[in-house]
Amino acid sequence: MFRITGEPIDAQLLHAIVRDGDGGVVTFFGIVRSAADDDKRVSGLWYEAHESMALREFEAIANEARLRFGDVRMAIVHRIGELRPGEISVAVLASAPHRAAAFDACRYAIDQLKQRAPIWKKECYADGAAVWKDGR
C-alpha cells in the first residue's frame, strides 16, 4: 500500500497489508514536532510532493527492502498539505514472518524515503518565519 494523502493518516488502515503467517509487524510514525532543532517554536509544517514520482519511489524502496531482508510486506503513506504539531506526517509499516526482517525493512524504508522521495517540507514558526528543510 503506497499513498500520498491530504487527509489525516489512519494508522489502522496500514494494518490491512498484514498477512496470515506474519509474526512481526513494525510501524514507524513521523510526527510533527512543536520545536525545531534550534528550539524555535514550530506552528506547523507544509508538505508537498511530486505525487506520481513519490509513489514510484515508495514502491522501489519496498522492492529493495524485500531483496535485502526477504519476505516482507510494506505500507508507506505520506501526508501532504498543512500539518500541525502532533499530527502524523508519514507512516511506514513492515510485516514479516519474523521480527528481524520487519524491523530492518521499516528502518530501511523511512531512511531511504527521507533521502530519495520527491517530497518537500517547510517549517513554519510561531514568529511568522518559514524555512524549507532539506533532507538529512
Partner: protein
Amino acid sequence: MKVHVLAFARLREILQAPQRSLELPEAARAADAWAALERDRPALAAERSSTRVARNGRLVSFDETLREGDELAFLPPVGGG
C-alpha cells in the same frame, strides 16, 4: 513546441506558480527550458546547481532533448518524512 513545467518548494515560490507551460524551439533541451525560466525569474540562477530535473517522471540530465507535450519537473533538494 510546448512543454509543461512543474516546480516544487522553493522553486515553486520563485516562479510564483506550481506549473506553467513554456514555448520552446524544436529539439530544445531541459537546460534551455531552465534558461527560459531564469530569464523570467533571475532568482532561479542561485538554485540551478542544487536542482534536478525529471522528464515525464524520470530523472534526466539537463542535456536531455525535449519533445512536444513533455512534462518537465524541476526538483530542489528533497526533505520528506
